[in-house]
Symmetry: C2
Subunit: 387 residues, 2 copies
């Protein structure tokens, strides 16, 4: 494996000799299952709380029974499809393992005239299925996990993505802007759950379409590979200070998925609309993060812990602080999404103008405008229900 | 069971003493499994064709491999969720049986102040989940199947909807207007498949939400009860000449689902926006139907066959002719949807004006305008892929 690739010049990734592929066991959710530093009663209760009998609703705004009821329901279809082979085959699909519930496809590849025509076809199909954003990059081993985590044995197991699938389709499904405004709340987790459910359905449908065309397609959500660098390489957006992808269409408000395939496709160019330079001067996420998990400092090569990538110059969050806050709240948190100046409704022209100007030397002024006009405070969940 | 109910004055249903509840075995798809009049090689191939190895793609526009590839992929998630207990328990969920893959809910009902407040809450949740249309009617035994069909034994089995669930939530999920324009084609069946997939996901999520609130909820799609009269009673729309529901929002272009529940809810009023009177003078669907399955005549009490409801004055299609055409095309048909004057994009103001005027004595003129300006011809599938 080469640590540096020509595409890095376009994404701005600065990878050096220390770089090592990420082992899934070091992901913070996996660590909560094996690492005494992370595993705790609160962490266990946080996960259990996604099932109604263990939800621990309380009187606080956004943490009542109807809030947990919607949050847990929003995950339901994702959970059913995730768990199809969980008990029998130790597969937690979409999270630890790729999806496997495909029907038999076709045995001869559909003869597209060119990758252009195949790509146009795929985009049309994706649009009709309801895919939010789609981009394509080349397979890049650097972002594929070195190993998977087995929920059953708590040990590593191999990543079984075939290495002869040259293309990666990356998709992004938007999260509800209104629900995200109520964070921190159990209610706001519904934006996450609905996003995952939509992501799961779209990934299964689109990968089945590719198989039906006669190509190979392996659908993957949070499992198997780091979605964010792949998304950046596929032109979906840039990486912000909060380590999340920021897209032109939905800002940081989306869930990602990917499909590894041998369908011949045009490769997209990484996009640059000024996020990196903007995040250099903006500290709204780092200031707003209650556990101070997002550093206000410049990008660095030093990982905070095994949960961070090694050997790459980047903004890096402190996963332990982040996750402990989730566990203490008994709900996932996305305050960094709520307060991000790119968390806007870009279907409105004035927000598109803001985005354009935020990519120019006026960026400092655009940040001031955002701070002045967008308090980005927490919306009361009661108000969300009433609205 | 009373044959006549006060609500009939509002829906225009004219039910008489001959009325009998419908037995699912007489539904045309079920008959293709047991009735020699309907079962045929073509019918079997039509169903098998929803799986890629049996798709029988041909050169004709709209029936190529990519068309079947998308059509079959669009059904995939529906199929997976439908078949969870098919082999073991003879359950074909969403089609012959209700959905059963619920997680445990809450054991105490959420104390809403009033049915108004519960309804507002449910509507807010439904909107965030992505429900297209929603209405509520009282449980009405007349439209519940007398018996279910067992795929395994080809015999009747009991309908196990508890009879102490007083409310029925009816939802409608829109079908893609562009895909519907390509009918007849295998491609157009993608609108059906995507509609069902969305319907399935939304039904499972919304009914889980109700269970999480502490109420009972049984989610049902094509199984267990006639969705169209329930939808009319719940105020979603009126029934057209083609026997399909016509809604203000999407015309006839939608899939229906329902949830039987004891959650206290406001009951909606049936809606009337002039469809019945318009259909009396319009014969676009009956003229365009290739097998002449839609009569041009006035509503009648005489069923054409066991596949029609008995003892109710209505427009009734000839299910045998309709289904044989499907089988002969190796694809479902919705020409009656494509050519319906209410098949419009009502997000556009001029279509809303048309709808308003079609409910007045100007209806004949509005029909002429529709015939003159909207050829409603078949869109070439090649053009759909290119668009």
């Amino acid at each position: 494996m080469k640590n540096r690739l020509p595409i890095d010049a376009k994404t701005g990734f600065d990878v050096n000799d220390d770089f090592e592929r990420f082992a899934q066991r070091n992901e913070i959710y996996c660590r909560s299952e094996w690492d005494p530093e992370i595993a705790s009663d609160a962490a266990r209760k946080f996960f259990d709380g996604h099932y109604m009998p263990h939800a621990r609703a309380r009187k606080a705004d956004g943490f009542g029974q109807r809030d947990y009821a919607l949050r847990n329901a929003s995950w339901h279809v994702t959970n059913v499809l995730r768990d199809l082979r969980r008990a029998d085959d130790d597969r937690k699909e979409g999270f630890f393992d790729t999806f496997s519930c495909h029907a038999e496809g076709w045995d001869e590849p559909y003869p597209f005239d060119s990758p252009e025509s195949g790509t146009a076809n795929l985009r049309r199909a994706a649009e009709s299925i309801g895919v939010g954003l789609m981009g394509v990059c080349e397979y890049d081993e650097r972002w594929v996990y070195e190993s998977r985590f087995s929920e059953k044995t708590k040990q590593d197991k191999p990543v079984d993505i075939p290495d002869d699938l040259p293309n990666v389709i990356v998709i992004g499904e938007p999260m509800d802007i209104g629900l995200t405004a109520t964070v921190p709340s159990a209610l706001s987790g519904s934006a996450t759950g609905i996003g995952y459910t939509h992501d799961t359905v779209v990934l299964l449908t689109l990968s089945q379409y590719i198989r039906n065309l006669g190509y190979r397609a392996v659908a993957s959500m949070n499992d198997s590979a780091l979605a964010i660098p792949l998304a950046a390489q596929a032109g979906l957006g840039e990486i912000g200070r909060h380590s999340l992808l920021i897209t032109k269409e939905y800002g940081p408000r989306l869930r990602l998925g990917k499909i590894f395939t041998d369908m011949p496709l045009l490769i997209d160019e990484p996009s640059n609309f000024g996020v990196r330079k903007f995040c250099e001067i903006c500290q709204r996420c780092s200031s707003a993060c209650p556990p101070k998990a997002i550093p206000a400092s410049a990008p660095s090569r030093t990982p905070h812990s095994v949960s961070n990538l090694k050997g790459i110059l980047k903004w890096t969050t402190i996963a332990e602080k982040c996750f402990r806050f989730w566990a203490s709240q008994n709900s996932d948190c996305s305050i960094c999404i709520r307060v991000c100046p790119y968390n806007r409704d870009f279907s409105r022209w004035h927000n598109r103008v803001w985005r354009r100007l935020a990519a120019t030397p006026l960026r400092k002024f655009m940040l001031q405008i955002d701070v002045f006009f967008n308090k980005r405070g927490r919306m009361s969940s009661r108000n969300w229900w009433r609205s």
